[in-house]
Amino acid sequence: MFVNVGGVENLVEAKALTKHFGTFEAVRGIDVEVRRGEAFGFLGPNGAGKSSTMRMVACVSGRTGGELKVLGMDPDRDGPKIRARIGVVPQLDNLDLELTVRQNLQIYGRYFGMSRQRCREKAVELLEFAQLADRADHEVEPLSGGMKRRLTIARSLVNDPELLLLDEPTTGLDPQARHLLWDRLFRLKQDGVTLIITTHYMDEAEQLCDRLVVMDGGRIAAEGSPSELINRYSTREVLELRFQPGAEKPDLERFAERVEVLPDRLLLYTQDGEHTLAKVHEHGVQPIQSLVRRSSLEDVFLRLTGRTLVD
């Protein structure tokens, strides 16, 4: 049975939210709503204002202007109360390296005021979830990056949060470790935990997010589900053509709905990539390499900002 604990359906509501650091405007007036049960993403390059937004939602950083409600409460007034009901996975691990894996989980439960008995039980459960049961009584320091990340995520669940904030959860991990983490996050979503994820990986956003906003320069450039955004801002397929370095790139505007010129290649936006490639060949253009693929959020970002996500 679905229980509406806080009496709100929008776990996060922001209107004209801003954050300044001195004269630097990190967040320049954004409107965001995150609904209960969804996985919501902030996609954007480094410096887009994602982390600043996350810190305001996590109630560790006050807002400069605008309105913000988290779980129906005002972070300025009810910070500790809100923090008691959310989980935070920070961009950089802040585990206690001198404690054991198990102790890290237990003491974190204590920070939420849970009884020692409850912390012990919860630690056992979370060790299982993070697949770290065989390392339970090892120190944290020598663990691999992926293991530390899993422990950090497990730790953020110690208080059974209604809302989980993940800031760049898989940055710096190898592909295998990323997939393992994504699997854990899917499970949480199925269990009804609301997720907010920041990332500059478009595949991560596509995999995990029901809805997302594209952020750039402290503003929201677009909002929607991954497929909506792709439909709205890109074509079905993309033809990538690579030419000899230094060679002049031919003008192929007439073969596609839109052409993006990148330093090393051309992107032709089209409904049928193979068909476009055939026409390009017919025309006598000889790229050294060609690739047809589906449009992705990367293309959406490129369209919206004229830049690529990861420089």
Partner: protein, 257 residues
């Protein structure tokens, strides 16, 4: 009440660590008083003639209560520098703590509670060893435990505030060399401050070590007047209060922006 409870969890984190590692720290808290008392009190002290200036007591007994204070101030220095910086910058454990209902101020209180308890335990160990070596000048040396803890915290709290403003550990060496070292040598632990040039005295009076030593030695030999006792204690408490005030401010600035 809520604050005390939340601060306690910060203390508990250290306790969790201590439970597994107390043996390592125990060795140093036993060994250091033993070595100092034997070398300076028994060894060096055997060559020192007792004078009226040091109250006519054996040098070993003159030294012991002051060494309790000096050891506490030194311990406080190490607990309030690299350990604080690491919790901000290297392990970042403070950042993890303030993502929970715990506030930056409560992080400070928990940290200070832990340091205070460490200083207290070490001082108890010191006094027990002093008694065993015959270095106790009187039953009042028991009070040296409290005064040493107080003096240690009086140095610790402002130092925690200072550490919270730094981004690299370079300036800690300056603190060790130009604050801790002179404070160890010239605040009356090894010889009466009346032997120092007059112009230096105001500087000595600023140090928590001098106030702690006056209290600890006075209590040991029963020469402590009520008014001086209150004055020294008030000064140390004021240093703690000011240090806490700035620590809370700087922790907040660092953790909640």
């Amino acid at each position: 009440m809520q604050t005390l409870r939340a601060s306690w969890f910060g203390f508990e984190k250290h306790w969790l660590w201590y439970r597994r590692n107390w043996r390592a720290t125990a060795v140093s808290s036993f060994l250091s008083p033993l070595l100092f008392l034997v070398a300076l009190g028994l060894g060096f002290g055997s060559q020192v003639q007792s004078t009226a200036l040091i109250g006519g007591v054996p040098y070993l007994q003159y030294l012991a209560p002051a060494l309790v204070v000096i050891t506490a101030v030194q311990g406080a220095t190490f607990e309030s520098t690299y350990a604080i910086m690491s919790s901000f910058l290297w392990q970042k454990t403070y950042i993890g703590m303030v993502a929970t209902p715990i506030t930056p101020a409560q992080v400070v209180y928990g940290q200070v509670m832990w340091i205070g308890s460490q200083l207290f335990v070490r001082s108890v160990v010191f006094v027990v060893i002093a008694v065993a070596l015959g270095a106790a000048g009187g039953p009042g040396i028991g009070l040296a435990v409290l005064f040493a803890t107080l003096a240690g915290l009086a140095f610790s709290c402002p130092l925690i505030a200072y550490s919270a403003t730094l981004d690299k550990p370079d300036s800690f060496n300056t603190v060790f060399r130009f604050v801790l070292m002179p404070m160890t040598l010239f605040t009356g632990a090894f010889f009466p401050v009346s032997q120092l040039p007059n112009w230096l005295l105001p500087l000595v009076w600023l140090t928590p070590a001098w106030h702690g030593i006056e209290l600890a030695r006075g209590a040991t030999f029963g020469t402590l007047g009520l008014l001086p006792a209150l004055g020294h204690t008030a000064y140390l408490v004021a240093m703690i209060a000011v240090g806490l005030f700035f620590s809370v401010r700087f922790f907040h600035r660092r953790l909640a922006v």
